[in-house]
């Protein structure tokens, strides 16, 4: 499904190149990567074996620029073609928007083509997709080789659905762009006709202030046929795109305080672990969310008061990342400071002498306890108490 992010103003589509092993799926991506200008594409990531056979997938992101205020992004994936890798092949199909089936035109590869196409249909079905419902383009590859089957023969065996086909030679680049352009067109056409769009990858840097003041993506004019597969929850009413879907108006304002939806809470009702003071005590924690926003916290940009030391289970104090909080390196904190901070809610404690000067009865019992060594064997404790008594006796001249 085409993912539309109103916040980041992005439209993102996932296109998968499918086909039997060695049919040229990765070569397609390599050609695109090679020919497309560097500013419109990302790096080609290939999860391949030592022998350059695709192990999991190849991934090539393409950003063709801004259209009507929305950045159009396409993510091209290939699957491992070998039969052996069906488990991983299936995973790549998750959330697919359009498929290019790359068939090998050589006669002895025909069985593999047919088998792979059947496998595609089966894998799609497992995700609840219908191959007839997903934009699909057939690419007859390796047309430059001698003795290849004719397009008619290939069509007869591979294209009973009558989907668009292209002759191609991926190594030479012939037909590669034509295929890609057509599948993108089909994907966008389908999204246009579909009443559902969704997700929203957000590049934090591009967050706009308002969701979509000037709707670049306007509601499609035509009545939207409810897509066949999709979730049953799509109400029929949704078939008629309501006015200005992009504006904040139609959106039921989600209150940040959701009443806990108990029924749907199936998703990980994680027990709220009683967090140590660390997680809750920081006075900054409440204010962090808004500040960094789109950009990574930069050193020294946030004038914030010294935060209480955060300790790890080992009792050590951390230095924050340079600039991540206060912009200054935090000095190691003594255990005295830590224990006091946890009691006084993050207020930097008085120095030891100040504490001594102050009336002892004002200091919470907890704090007094925390000043002492907490755990001690009984014999050691007795010895320590005896020693302390001796000290006070000497101090006050008691015989």
């Amino acid at each position: 499904m085409v993912s539309i992010n109103y916040s980041a103003r992005e439209v993102c589509c996932k296109i998968v190149y499918y086909g039997p092993g060695l049919s040229g799926k990765t070569t397609n991506l390599q050609y695109v990567h090679e020919k497309v200008p560097g500013n419109t594409r990302g790096d080609l990531i290939s999860l391949a074996t030592e022998a350059d056979r695709t192990l999991y997938f190849d991934f090539l992101p393409i950003n063709i620029g801004t259209i009507n205020g929305f950045a159009a992004k396409f993510q091209l994936y290939t699957v491992p073609g070998q039969v052996y890798y069906n488990a991983t092949r299936k995973l790549v199909l998750r959330g697919v928007d359009g498929i290019v089936f790359v068939a090998d035109s050589q006669p002895d590869k025909m069985d593999e083509n047919i088998e792979s196409l059947a496998n595609l249909e089966e894998n799609l079905r497992e995700y609840g997709y219908d191959i007839n419902d997903i934009p699909l383009v057939l690419q007859y590859n390796k047309r430059d080789l001698p003795g290849v089957l004719s397009v008619e023969e290939l069509n007869a065996k591979l294209n009973p659905r009558g989907v668009p086909t292209f002759e191609a030679s991926a190594t030479l680049g012939k037909g590669v762009f034509d295929t890609l352009k057509l599948i993108i067109r089909l994907v966008l056409d389908k999204a246009k006709n579909s009443n559902k769009n969704q997700r929203k990858p957000v590049t934090a840097a591009s967050l706009s202030k308002e969701p979509a003041a000037s709707p670049p993506v306007s509601p499609s004019a035509q009545p939207v046929p409810v897509t066949p597969v999709k979730e049953p929850s799509a109400p029929p009413a949704a078939a008629s795109p309501s006015p200005a879907p992009v504006t904040p108006a139609p959106k039921p304002s989600p209150q940040p305080q959701p009443q806990p939806v108990s029924a749907a809470a199936s998703a990980a009702p994680q027990p709220q672990v009683a967090s140590p003071a660390v997680a809750t005590e920081s006075p900054q924690a409440a204010t962090v969310g808004v500040a960094p926003k789109t950009k990574a916290p930069v050193a020294g940009t946030k004038p914030q008061p010294a935060q209480p030391a955060v300790s790890n289970p080992d009792g050590e104090a951390y230095r924050p990342y340079p600039g991540s909080t206060t912009g200054k390196i935090k000095q190691p904190v003594t255990s005295q400071e830590q224990s006091t901070a946890s009691v006084t809610g993050g207020v930097r404690p008085a120095t030891q002498t100040q504490l001594e000067k102050s009336n002892e009865h004002i200091i919470p019992q907890q704090q007094q306890d925390s000043d002492h060594v907490p755990i001690m064997a009984p014999s050691m404790r007795r010895r320590a108490e005896k020693k302390k008594r001796g000290f006070f006796k000497r101090l006050f001249g008691i015989k």
């Binding site: 999991y56 769009n197 990858p201 929850s233």
Partner: protein
């Protein structure tokens, strides 16, 4: 598709970012990403400027997906937490709701225990938000892209994809 579609608007993204920021502060982690299982990046916070977050999102989603299959093979429905340990940097991934993955990248300034604790709290908060979003998206009509956009894209494609 077999799943509900999901629309996130600005204010929801802000709520999500706030939670992730809080997580980063609490756990003293470097950066946090929220990725959906399809490989799309939802949002990111922290020191991400030096990262190729698009590729990262796709690979992390792939990693999570393959681990899910491994879980099935050993009789588990899903592994809800993944941890990759490196020499300097480590990655903690945890499932949020049914379709998102919370990724935290951290180094030795903090500990896995702290990250795990904070991530768990954040995941609980995020799950609530996603449930709210799900409710809202059911109630609202869902927009689609316009023909104008598709035509514009086609023109761009002709410009860019030239042999």
């Amino acid at each position: 598709m077999s799943e509900d579609s999901l629309i996130l608007y600005e204010e929801e993204i802000k709520q999500i970012e706030k939670i992730i920021s809080k997580l980063l502060k609490g756990a003293e982690a470097k950066c946090g990403l929220l990725v959906d299982k399809d490989g799309h990046l939802i949002t990111r916070q922290g020191f991400t400027h030096s990262l190729d977050t698009t590729a990262l999102a796709a690979l992390l989603a792939g990693s999570f997906a393959s681990t899910k299959e491994i879980a099935k093979l050993v009789g588990e429905p899903e592994f809800s937490v993944l941890f990759h340990q490196g020499k300097k940097d480590h990655i903690h991934m945890s499932l949020v709701g049914e379709r998102s993955i919370l990724v935290v990248i951290f180094d030795d300034r903090t500990t896995i225990g702290m990250v795990r604790l904070c991530a768990k709290e954040a995941a609980t908060d995020l799950t609530k938000i996603f449930e709210q979003i799900k409710e809202n998206s059911k109630a609202s009509a869902q927009p689609s892209i316009s023909g104008e956009f598709a035509d514009g894209a086609q023109d761009k494609l002709d410009d860019i994809f030239q042999d």
